[in-house]
Structures are given as C-alpha cells and as structure tokens.
Amino acid sequence: MSQRQVLQGVISLLRPLLLDVVPTIQQTAALALGRLAYFNDDLAEAVVKEDILPQLVCSLSEQNRFYKKAAAFVLRAVGKHSPQLAQAIVECGALEALVICLEDFDPGVKEGAAWALGYIARHNSELSQAVVDAGAVPLLVLCIQEPEIALKRIAASTLSDISKHSPELAQTVVDAGAIAYLAQMILNPDAKLKCQVLSALSQIAKHSVDLAELVVEAEIFPVVLTCMKDSDEYVKKNGATLIREIAKHSPELSQFIVNAGGVAAVIDCIGSCKGTVRLPGIMMLGYVAAHSENLSMAVIVSKGIPPLCTCLLEEHEDHIKAAAAWALGQIGRHTPEHARAVAETNVLGTLLSMYMDIRSSEDLQLKAKRALKNILQKCTYLPALEPLLHDAPPNIMKHIVGQFSKVLPHDSKARRLFVTSGGLKKVQEIKAEPGSLLQEYINTINNCYPEEVVRYYSPGYSEMLLERVENYQPVL
C-alpha cells in the first residue's frame, strides 16, 4: 500500500474517534491528528478533504480546554503548510472559533489559538486581513499582557506575522495599542521573547515613516541597544533588523539613532558575530551613510569601516559580501574626505578583486563595481589608487586615470611619487582609443611631465635608443 493510502486509512480510522463519548479519547484522537498533520502536508490536505475541520470547529466552542488545545493544535498543523490549506481553514469558519478561544481563561488554550492564528496569517495579506477582520488583534494585545512567558511569545509572534504584509495591517496592530506593550517587553530577560518582540516591532516599523516614528516614540532607544549585547545570536540579529528598518526611512530618524549611540552598538555587534547574523547590521550602516554626508562621517568617526572590511574579507556568503560592498560604497561616495577614509583601509583592492572574480555572483559583482565607481569618482588619495592601476579592467581604469589627471596637475610631490612608483610607466602602457575619455585623461597626465620623461617611460624606448645607436654615423 502506498504511503498515501496508508495515510488515508489512518485518517478514516481517527475520524470516528473524534466523535467518541469519552472525552479523553476525543482529545487523544485530535492530538494524534494534529501530530500527523504537522509533519506531513499530504495528511494535512487529507484532513481538510475529509471534512474533519468543521467538526473540530463546532466542538471548539463547546468542549473543555484540553480538547480546545488539541483542536487548536490540529488547525495550526494544517494551516502551516500552504496558503491554500490555510484558506480552507478560514472558509470553514475556524477564525471566529479561534478568536473565541482567545478569550478563554486557560492560558494554554489562548496559546494554542494564538499560535494557530499566527500560522494562518503568515502566508499572505488576504489571510492576515481575514484574521484581523475576525477581531483577533485586540485580544492578542490582551494576551501580550498576560504573565505567562510562552503566551507572550506566541502573541508577539502572531502580531509580527500579521503586521508584516502591508502598512494597513500594521496600522491596525498599532491602533490596538500594541506598541507600548511590545516596547515594555524588550526588557524581559527571556531570549526567545525578546526575539519575537523585536521582530514584531521591526515588521511594524518597516512599512512607512509614520509607523517608524511611532515605534521610536515608544522610547525603545536606548533600551534596544542592550539587545545588541545579548548572548543570543537571534536577539542581536532581530535588534539590528529593527534598527535598520527604522534608519532606512529618513535622515531625521537616522540622525536620531546616531545621536543615541546606535551606530556604535551596531558596529560592536557586527564585530562580535559571524555569518548571516551580521547582515542587518551591515545594511543598517549602509542606510545611515546613504542619507547624508554628515551621517556618513559620523559612521566613519564611530570606527565603522574596519568591521565592514573584515566582513568583506572573511565572509563566505556572497550576499553578505555584496551588502558589505554596498555599505562601503555608500560611505565613501560623498566627498573626497569620505573616499579617503575608505581608501586608507586598502579595501579598494579587495573590491576590485571581487569584481574581477568569475566565481562571485552577479549581484556581488554589480555591487562591487558600483561601490568601486562611486568611491573612485571622489577619491584623491593617490597611494591607494596606485595599486589599482595594475590590474583594473578598462571601465574601471578610466575612473582611476581620471582621478590621477585631476590631482597631478596641481601637486608636484604627487607627480614625483607617481613617476618613482612606476605609475607613469603603467599609464603609458595603457592602450586607449584616440578621442575617448581615457585618452584625454592620459594626455592630461602626459602634459604634466616634460617631453623627455614621457618618452623615457613610453614602451619600446630602449629599442628606439638602440636603433638610434645602430643608425648613428660616428663623427671622427
């Protein structure tokens, strides 16, 4: 017998047990169904097809709390697999019954109901809207205030799942007064609760400037910064996500975060973690630096560049490296001061190698190229540009040579250094089409030097001299 048939058989065996007289049997049957459906989505579909759900929903309102817990578990197990199954649950009217369960006295029942609602609302915004329309949000906010930690956790996670889809849903959650309670719970020592609370706040804040400002007004700073020092990795990640979602909307919010010392906390967090946990922190630095040059300078002053460079070098995942490259580009692109600060850490070479590496993903190559271009267009720090002359491809080369052509005419020491370090030689070796921008830059550079020097360094000079020797008629 195939597994599917076996499963069908199981369902048809369990189904009459749900109607048994003895309550313990009913509960155990419901628990069994829930456990089966949790791990196997075929079974979950079978549960839906066999019309077990309406029965469960009816008995949800009548039976005692153990049955309610088991029935909520079944609904959760079915709803977690796919949006279609969740839709089926909504259609059989489970939402109202679950919302009634949310008002029950027993915290276990509330937890089960909230969990089921959370799994349903997770899939897409229509299902979330259905959950909200059933009136779940005020009851969830009440659940958050209960003393049991597990219930708080689940209620926070459900609010997070509801508000993540669209700004209107987030606004509904905010209107129920959730933000104040969520903000208070950041101080709770339980790590998983903090995770969920931070995730809920970040899902609310990510949609628009007003929502982010509301979250900030709940006085989460500087308490949130203590989360960045928590021992649990996911608390740090979610805390960084929250700060990132707030910082990305407007320069004023970024300014506020910088003034509260958020940048230092995030930089320490990046330095102490490894892997994907770093990603939101890196993106936050990028967003802050992108808004204005003062903020970018604040990031530089808070020693933000060295952790980003180490990220670029150490990490294995391409998307983290791409984020680090993007953040560096945002920091360095404003003025020559910023570009100098970035270039002094010798990270331009790394960016170039990443751009040239065939094994890097497209995204990484693109971000590295853009970052490199942005920084190079403002960089006047010649010692950092020199090493790049040797390996750069033509499209980057023109920016490098362009920068040299801007700086060299005005600085005699730099000219001397350029010659002695072999840069002039390299520039002569570049072949450019006449009339192109690159050729103009090369001409500008050549015009900074006397004729003989340029000829001395042009390729093939020694052969030319030898030829002259050959053709010379000695004067007797």
């Binding site: 915290p107 020092k229 021992s231 010392g261 230092a264 320490d268 300078m297």
Partner: protein, 342 residues
Amino acid sequence: MAALVRLETRLSRLREEYFLKNRSVDEDRKIVYKAAVKIQSWFRGCRVRAYLRYLNKMAISIQKWWRGYQSRRYFRKMIKTAYFIMKMNFYNEMAVRIQKRWRGYYVRKYTHNYYALKKYLEAISLNNEIVRNELQEYAEMNEKKKKKKDLEKKEKEKKYKARKMHYLLSTEQIAGIYNSPFRKFPDPMELLLRQSKPLSHRQQQPKSPFTYDLYDWPTCKRPPAFPTGEPLPPIGRQKPQGPFRDAAEVLRQRYKPLEPTLRVAASISSPLEKAREEMKREEWRKCIHDNEFLPFSSYHKNEKYELSIHASEKIGKETYGIKHFREVQPNKWIAGKNSCIS
C-alpha cells in the same frame, strides 16, 4: 532846305533802307529772338538756380540745425543711460561683494558649520564611547548572572546527589568510597555527604489531568501535592514461602491513595456558596451582642433610664483624702443610736 533835299534823297533810299533794315531785322529777329529767349531763359535759369540754391542752403541750414539739435538731445539721453548703467553696474558690483561675504559667512556659520560639525562628530565619538562602556558593563553583568546561576545550579545538583547517595557515607568500621584510608584527607564529596540530610524516597504524585478546580487559576502552577509515600517493605525480611504476592505490591495496593473523580474531588458547594459560608463565619466571629439594633425611640419607651455613676454623684471635689481619711458609715454605728439591739 538842303537838309530836306538831302533827306528826300535819303528818303527813297530810306524806304529801301527801312525795308532792308526791317527785312534784315526781320531776318535777325528770329535769331535775335531766339538769342534773347536764350539769354532770358539762361538768366531766369540762373536766377531760379540761385534761388533754389538759396533755398537749398536754407533748407540745409535748417535741417543741419535741427539734426544737430536732435542728436544732441539723443546724445544727452545716451549719456544719461550710460551713466545710469555705469552706476547700476557699480552698485551691482558692490552688492555682489556684500552678498558674497554675507552668503559665505552665513553658510559657514549656520549651514555647513565646520566647527559645529567637528564638535558634533567629537560628541558622537564620546557618546559612542559611553554607550559602548555601558553596553560592556551590561554584558558583563549578564555574564556574571549567568555564571552565578550555573554555579548555583551545579551546587544544587551536587547537594541533591549527595542527599541521594547518603548511604555511601563512611562509618567507623567501613570506610566509604570517598574516604579511602590511603588518602590524606577525605574527598570533598565525603564532607558533603556528612553534611547532607538523607533524602527520603518520596515520589511526587503524578499530576493528573483533572486537577482540583479551586487551584485551577492561571497564576497557580501546581495543585497542592498530597504526598502519598510509598512505604518500603522492611529490610532483610525473608520472602515468605508460598503463593504470596510481592510485599511491595500488596502494600502499594493497601495504601493506594484515593483517586477521586472530578465530581467527588470538587467540593459540593460552588465557590459562591463557599464564599457565603465564609462571610457568615466571619459575622459569627465578630458578633459582640445579640441585641438587635432598634432604630426608633418608641421601642425604648418602657425602659427606665438609669443614671450613670458619674451623674449620680454629688457635685464638688472629692472629700475623701482631704476632709476625712476614713470611710465612715454612721448608719452602721452601734453606739449613739437609740435602739439598735432590740
């Protein structure tokens, strides 16, 4: 007369002469006429030309004068405008200088204030230092707490283990495993064993799903555990010969704790009734007298009013202690009365 003859002779010639003269004059007349016309015309022409010339000269003079006047006017205007433009340029130039200075000053002081930016960045780094220090302290505090918790947990475990393994304590005769005679001093575990109280083998009642409803509120985690000890059979007892059941089993069955159903376990009276009972008991306890309170004065009509002690005494200072020092009751005196013993 001679003149007359001469004249007559000349007369005949005269007529010819006259005729010839007239003829010649006639012949010359055209020429002369033409010449006269020519002369006249030329002269008229001259006159007219002179007149025209004169007119021309006058016209020229007028025009010259008029044009000069207009140009001078125009020139004056041009000078005025040029002067005006020059003035305006000068003013513009000066205004530009002022604006240049002002804008530079304003931007440098308010918009892109370099020193304020520097101060701000310094303040940021200072603030960052402070924040970093505080976070470091917080992290250290957390670490310490965690360590402390771990340590305490370990201690608790150790103590529990020692209590469980109390039988491993060494006695006078038999040295325990932690108190080997070859050791210089006993193992710390031995010391722990000496200190700990033996753990009695009490098992917690397994929590049944139907717990008592009184204790079923969310804040109370566990129902009161009714410790039902499982008594051990006495040590060293020989197993009785015969088809007897295992002693431990029998004892377990004999002393099986009551497992009441929900209906039995729950009290008969609902919480409401229990609360009422409670209230009644309180009332009973606090009750001072049984006289019911009668509100209206008509209920007290038949009662005689009893004077209070204070009001039934005579007014004035107490004479005892001042006027007399003994209590005297004259009606009890025997002497001085007329007939007392009769």
